[in-house]
Symmetry: C2
């Protein structure tokens, strides 16, 4: 099932979902799909932002920037959160804004320390809801072991926002000698994922589409820094990490494969998808590989450490269902191949359009 | 002239502009004035954000957070930019987003190093305008000597944004032994400002209200880190710095006086306001003391260093019109007194409502 089905099912209101987006210069205006985490987002970054801001740190194309200031190695990252609805099963925009940035720091191999929080409020937003979200941010910060140390508040006119948008930026410290980036991935590396995929995206879409299932599907939103720390503390030579947010597992793998110039092979049977999530995906016309997660990551490690890493992950509350889903095959053009349940192999491409708008 | 005149003149569309806002709990919804930089913004921060995120770093109530990571002293800050129009005489939202965050770092006495940039685009925004703004950010970063090292792009539906909003966060390094915060201000300190006030706010309002003057009033938007560095390099014992953005000179002084628990006295005749800016303020019913600037700061230093500091500032391109505008008088309730041109003394209060919505 490919993401192009979305269009047929009428779920996607706007944006291009075909197989082959136009060259970047042919889009005179911003489309929803430019923010969807797929090909158009990728084009926007590569054709517009990267050339303008060209510098070695930015060009790492990682979840965060790796910096060194007077001998201290730091990671620095930012994300804006525009998810709707702002309250959803398993979380809310405030929790997401904290965990999301904590996870981006963790994906750099950093220990998250400090966060900023900047809110853009729409005139008329309920103070009660703001209070609830701020409390949720504080709870999430406490759970993730970070401090919210600086912030900003702006208010925009009614009709120029959507309740509230939150930006968080984060600083973490890197206390090991590894360089955890796509460029560190090696042929033969094992690829692990820490659990089932697709829950966050489906939890959000179920609310939006007014679907109800026998069981409540809750977002998997969670802080991953502790799980990463467990691997590092136990001397796992982590090559690369990536959380599976916008664009899901497929986009993360294709991005890393492209940045590293390596081909990869993954096994569909090794990728956990909960039955209710799979059912919802079928109803909504989504491929779980492309659905956003907020507590899942992909881990690249040397083949010989895969069993030790798997045991460590499964012993952690956020890795109980961890699995080895494939391996890095060889230098190539960054092609990711998936062997399906029935044994056929297909190429996993980046999402052409926009599957789930405003999912984070 | 008090800011309450705005209401009479019909400039302010929404928000409370009276002398005495209600207790915080009496506002069930967010008003434009909660983002105006005056009393309601202050209440929102003190009653909602600070109690939730309570920690020693945040409680410094400074333009940024002062951190120490493995022996390296850093400043960390964030701001979202929602100014409209996005292009205005003397600058644009992109330039503002870079200089604004650079300045917040400089106000902590830090040398700005790295910035993040996160844009929230409204569906349909012109790619051409985005390109222009991104280029402007890069030019501003080069001029300010910082690198844009990490970023994020989100797209929201048409009618849920206003073209684009930009968030920047910044990291700077502190390479001296001073602690530049409101708590370091001392009785007797001289108060300096680096030039004329009110230009940014008036440049924006003139466009919005369709006013034209004989001379073009351009924003004073500029990066202040170099000017701060000049003071530090020449061993000026800087006690506190604050840029005069939302709420203008008056709000900056009242905030610092309150945080330091000290009274202050300033002289109206020592505060430069360009004639055309003064005229525009009269037409619009604004008090220049409350009008936003984007390249102006207030500097608190020991009395005995004031002449040296003034000479240093005047020798810098961004301090040609620097002046000593007053002094810190004595411990007190944080009252700021202004001696007017005619010799009368009045108390300078924080803006009760919202003077200039979406000025930055």
């Amino acid at each position: 099932m490919k993401s192009t089905n979305n269009e047929q099912k009428g779920i996607v209101a706007t944006g291009f979902t075909g197989e082959c987006p136009l060259p970047f210069d042919d889009y005179p205006q911003v489309l929803m799909a430019h923010g969807g985490g797929g090909k158009l987002t990728n084009q926007l970054i590569k054709k517009l932002f990267l050339p303008a801001f060209d510098n070695p740190v930015l060009n790492q194309q990682h979840d965060g920037a790796l910096l060194e200031i007077n001998g201290v190695r730091l990671a620095f990252t930012t994300d804006s959160y525009v998810v709707r609805p702002i309250f959803f099963p398993g979380g809310d925009i405030g929790q997401l804004a904290v965990y999301g940035t904590v996870n981006d720091l963790a994906m750099c191999g950093a220990r998250p320390l400090y966060l900023s929080a900047a809110v853009i409020l729409e005139e008329g937003f309920l103070m009660e809801d703001l209070r609830r979200i701020v409390q949720s941010m504080q709870n999430a910060a406490a759970k993730a072991g970070v401090q919210l140390v600086t912030g900003d508040t702006k208010v925009v006119d009614k009709g120029k926002g959507d309740g509230l948008y939150i930006n968080t930026a984060g600083i973490g410290v890197i206390e090991h000698a590894l360089t955890i980036t796509p460029a560190s991935v090696r042929p033969g590396d094992a690829i692990l994922v820490n659990g089932d995929i697709g829950r966050h995206g489906i939890a959000i879409m179920a609310v939006r589409e007014g679907l109800s299932f026998e069981s409540l599907i809750e977002s998997d939103s969670a802080p991953l820094a502790g799980l990463v720390q467990t691997l590092l503390d136990n001397h796992i030579t982590v090559h690369c990490l990536r959380d599976l947010t916008r664009g899901g597992l497929a986009s993360a793998l294709v991005e890393i494969a492209g940045a590293a110039g390596l081909d990869m092979q993954i096994e569909e049977t090794a990728i956990h998808v909960r039955e209710d999530v799979r059912g919802a995906c079928e109803i909504l016309g989504f491929d779980p590989l492309y659905v956003a997660n907020e507590g899942r990551m992909v881990v690249f490690i040397p083949e010989e450490q895969k069993n030790k890493a798997l045991s460590l992950m499964r012993a952690h509350p956020l890795g109980v269902q961890a699995n080895i889903i494939g391996h890095v095959s060889s230098p190539g053009k960054g092609i990711v191949r998936l062997r399906s349940r029935i044994g056929a192999t297909r190429i996993v491409d980046m999402l052409s359009g926009e599957q789930l708008p405003r999912i984070c």
